[in-house]
């Protein structure tokens, strides 16, 4: 079985895995990184949303081989120590989470959006397609706007 080396949340890791294994299972089952959640396995619910070199990916449909030598950031790696990312702070300020299961993915999607764009419109937020089955969308919208205003 091939081995892959990558940076996960700032730390180099090496794993043995089939080339086509989804990054989600490498993270969750091999590395014990459990922040990214399984919700669909086909990249449509986006609960596992994380970053590859700072850009949004869905680890459930990203083969581990594509991440070789790259930098993977999950929700666990978004904050700098105890200093939360502004998007996380905004999530607390708006008390967004209900069951909380989709929120790591929602936060990573919002953080990726705010990296590329400073002026956020409602249309930009509408394009975030992450499912929140508790229906917290309006608080997510407010949190993204609040984070954008502070960044």
């Amino acid at each position: 079985m091939p081995t892959y080396t990558m940076i996960v949340n700032g730390k180099p890791v090496t794993v043995e895995a089939p080339a086509d294994m989804a990054l989600l299972w490498v993270l969750r089952d091999k590395l014990g990184v459990r922040g990214p959640k399984f919700g669909c396995g086909i990249g449509v619910c986006r609960a596992c949303t994380s970053h590859l070199n700072g850009a949004e990916i869905q680890p459930c449909v990203t083969p581990v081989a594509e991440c070789s030598g790259q930098e993977v950031t999950t929700i666990e790696g978004l904050a700098s120590g105890d200093d939360l990312h502004p998007v996380q702070e905004a999530w607390l300020e708006q008390d967004v989470a209900q069951c909380g299961y989709c929120q790591p993915g929602q936060i990573m999607a919002a953080a990726a959006l705010l990296r590329t764009k400073q002026e956020i419109t409602d249309e930009d937020i509408d394009r975030i397609a992450n499912v929140c089955r508790c229906g917290t969308y309006f608080r997510i919208r407010q949190a993204i706007k609040s984070a954008a205003a502070k960044m």
Binding site: R28, G32, G35, G39, A47, A79, Q98, C99, V131, C134
Partner: protein, 737 residues
């Protein structure tokens, strides 16, 4: 012969003879009892069962004998107070609200309270069920009592230790305050307090002295959630428990005929494969490998239980099952309407999952469970162990919406663990969760209202529903067994739930609501607001059409016919805040809905953009809510927001198509639960001031919003929706079976 009186002529002209009409009109008030405080002009309606005793009251009554044992509180030497709560947190925010109750009674900072979910406690009998919007109603008394008693003990311990009378002591910020002002923190008193003998009389604070309860607070578990540290069932490590999935049949309740697992067994990472009652289980080193091996299995299947049924046949069965009206249409002016609602997946983000470690002499289970006692009892029987040898841990769940009343994943995990003789970490795939999981039952509704001289004379609602499974009972084996009995059984359980939840909030003369259920052997279950979303949603649509026929504005009409001043205050609030009646561009419209259940009421006013009737969006929503006593208004607003999103989803786009024994939908790309692009750009929720005891809140938000959205759609497009979801094409290629 047509009616020649002065009220508007109905579209459907009924042959009404004047004498019969008048006789009926005179007769109607004789049948009714005036309720104090009701408007005089309208024909009052007798209280319906749910007004006298609602499902929450039933659950509280069932829990009364064990209420004293409900809340287990401990005060640690670090000053942290822990409440072990025998309920399931699945996103409702009950752990935060309960922490607030404890903090309030103990004069403790909220951050010093921890709430954990209790394991299954069979001694609680019917008092460990999370459902019926009943948590805060049922724990408000017991949790405050327990905290007040703990405070009394801490005070007594301080009094003894420092030789002062208890009356001269007070509490503040997690400490007993001595007469000279010195604080003694609880952590220093807990050991002495635990050793005190005797009972300590303590009354919870009167509500008017509350300083924390009733103020908006953020979730106590929010930081763990936004940092990815929060642990759901599958995020835990249980020694030896490896990723496990199940290959499931091509139709609901199908079973394994034969398996060829040779290819799958040889695949990398595969640890074990075995047949269980629900399919073929595969254990592997990672879920990715388990799923790959699952897909490589060659399985032949026995038929399921509804293989011959598709939506068309089910709908025909429902239409045939709707009971007849009592009032014939020829007596007076009337309005008849009928509605259909599709099956709806619960689809919580965290799929059905559980960890099980079954040994020869004991077992341990971890899962999100809303009825853990009956889970423990059923699992023990299934794996042949005494109940006391099965430990069931309740994990916080990633959503439920009624789904986790059922413990099928926990039972299945236990069966796999026993069969394969190893601990397992079981996860359902999304496709299976939607196709073989539970769903809100499809229903058909027939409504008839008769009216004349400005009054509604009769209001009849006939609900025909696919049987909703209540075989979890009241959470323990006795009532669960009663719900399984062939005679009475689940259908009479269903009648009780229907009668104790659904009520018409208006004075509509003689009101009758009847449920008839069609038993089909498929997996249904209570879905947030159970019967009310469809039943009350349909009624709110009829109310709008009735108002139109009677020449009245929908809001004026509701104001006139609502039963109580409290209901009208909620309506008035939403009308004022939501600017009812303002000018809207073409293709846009407002819509309103009202709902009253579990001692709470709410009104919802939405604005819809339906310029393209095939692509509507609710763009703004205003909600007013009166729950009697909000514990945490911020949490209450979250519940109402969730209810609104559920209503947007199920009214406009989210449903399941049943095709030859299986739902076609297998993921969120097919089951169209709302996304951000479907959600309103503006939502305002107004919480009415506290007036009494807490009412229900978890399910309250759905039915009024269903009515409001459908009514707004009708007003914007001129098309009164009759079938839900309104936009419901099979716009996807279904996954292979």
């Amino acid at each position: 012969m047509t009616c020649d009186n002065e009220v508007p002529v109905p579209e459907v002209r009924a042959p009404v003879r004047r004498r019969q009409f008048l006789t009926f009109l005179v007769a109607a008030p004789v049948l009714t009892v005036a309720v104090p405080g009701t408007a005089e002009a309208v024909i009052p309606t007798l209280p319906q069962p749910a007004e006298v005793l609602d499902l929450g009251d039933v659950l509280i009554l069932a829990g009364t004998p064990t209420a004293g044992a409900l809340a287990v509180l401990s005060v640690g030497e670090d000053g942290v107070v822990t409440l072990e709560l025998p309920r399931a947190e699945v996103g409702q925010g009950i752990t935060t609200a309960c922490a607030m109750l404890v903090a309030e009674e103990l004069d403790l900072p909220l951050g010093k309270v921890r709430v954990t979910l209790a394991d299954a406690r069979p001694e609680l009998l019917m008092n460990q069920l999370t459902g019926g919007s009943n948590t805060m109603r049922s724990v408000y008394g017991p949790v405050r009592q327990a905290a007040a008693a703990a405070r009394a003990r801490l005070l007594a311990a301080a009094a003894r230790k420092h030789g002062v009378a208890v009356e001269r002591l007070s509490t503040k910020d997690g400490a007993v305050i001595l007469p000279d002002g010195r604080p003694i923190v609880y952590g220093l008193l807990t050991s002495a307090a635990a050793q005190l003998t005797g009972t300590f009389a303590a009354q919870p604070k009167p509500a008017e002295e509350h300083r924390l309860v009733g103020t908006p607070q953020s979730r106590i578990d929010a930081r763990a959630m936004v940092t990815g540290q929060f642990k759901y069932t599958l995020d835990q490590d249980v020694p030896g428990a490896m990723p496990t999935v199940v290959r499931r049949p091509p139709t609901i309740n199908g079973s394994v005929r034969s398996v060829d697992s040779a290819a799958a067994k040889a695949m990398p990472g595969v640890l074990a494969i075995g047949v269980v009652p629900t399919g073929v289980a595969v254990v592997a080193e990672t879920f990715g490998q388990a799923m790959a091996a699952r897909d490589a299995l060659k399985v032949t299947w026995n038929a399921g239980t509804i293989d011959a049924l598709s939506d068309k046949e089910i709908r025909a069965k429902l239409q045939a099952a709707a009971l007849p009206f009592v009032v014939p249409p020829l007596l007076t002016q009337h309005l008849d309407m009928d509605f259909d609602f599709a099956f709806v997946s619960h689809a919580p983000m965290e799929t059905n999952s559980a960890i099980a470690d079954v040994r020869d002499d004991r077992a341990e289970i971890w899962a999100g469970l809303k009825s853990p006692i009956v889970a423990q009892q059923t699992i023990a029987a299934a794996i042949g162990l005494p109940e006391s040898a099965v430990k069931v841990h309740v994990m916080q769940g990633g959503g439920s919406f009624g789904r986790r009343l059922f413990f099928d994943a926990a039972l299945e995990a236990a069966q796999i663990s026993k069969a394969l003789r190893r601990p397992v970490k079981l996860m359902w795939d999304r496709k299976d969760d939607m196709r073989h999981g539970r769903a809100r039952a499809a229903s058909h509704h027939k409504l008839r209202a008769t009216f004349g001289l400005g009054n509604v004379l009769t209001f009849e609602h006939r609900v025909a529903s696919v049987e909703t499974d209540f075989r979890h009972g009241l959470g323990e084996i006795l009532t669960a067994t009663a719900a399984k009995l062939p005679v009475g059984g689940n259908l009479s359980f269903a009648q009780t739930v229907f009668l104790t939840t659904c009520k018409v909030p208006y004075n509509f003369g003689v009101v009758t609501s009847l449920l008839n259920e069609v038993p089909l052997r498929m997996h249904t279950g209570s879905w947030r607001s159970v019967y009310s979303a469809n039943t009350r949603g349909a009624e709110e649509i009829l109310v709008d059409q009735l108002a139109k026929k009677m020449g009245k504005d929908p809001v004026e009409f509701r104001r006139e016919f609502l039963k109580t001043a409290r209901q009208r205050a909620v309506l008035n609030k939403v009308v004022a805040e939501g600017e009812w009646g303002k000018a809207m561009p073409k293709g846009f419209a407002q819509g309103i809905g009202f709902h009253d259940e579990y001692k709470s009421c709410t009104a919802c006013l939405v604005e819809i953009d339906a310029r393209d009737p095939k692509n509507p969006r609710v763009v703004r929503a205003t909600i007013a809510v009166d729950v009697g006593r909000p514990i945490n208004p911020r949490g209450l607003e979250a519940q109402m927001l969730g209810g609104l999103t559920d209503a947007i989803s199920t009214t406009l786009r989210a449903g399941l198509h049943i095709d030859r024994g299986l739902p076609l939908e297998g993921s969120y790309s097919q089951f169209h639960y709302a996304r951000q692009k479907d959600a309103p750009l503006d939502v305002k929720i107004h919480v009415m001031p506290a007036t009494g005891e807490p009412g229900g809140a978890g399910e309250l938000g759905v039915p009024a919003a269903v009515g409001a959205i459908a009514n707004a759609y009708a007003r914007a497009t001129g098309i009164v929706p009759r079938s839900f979801p309104i936009i419901f094409p099979v716009d996807f290629e279904p996954f292979p079976r």
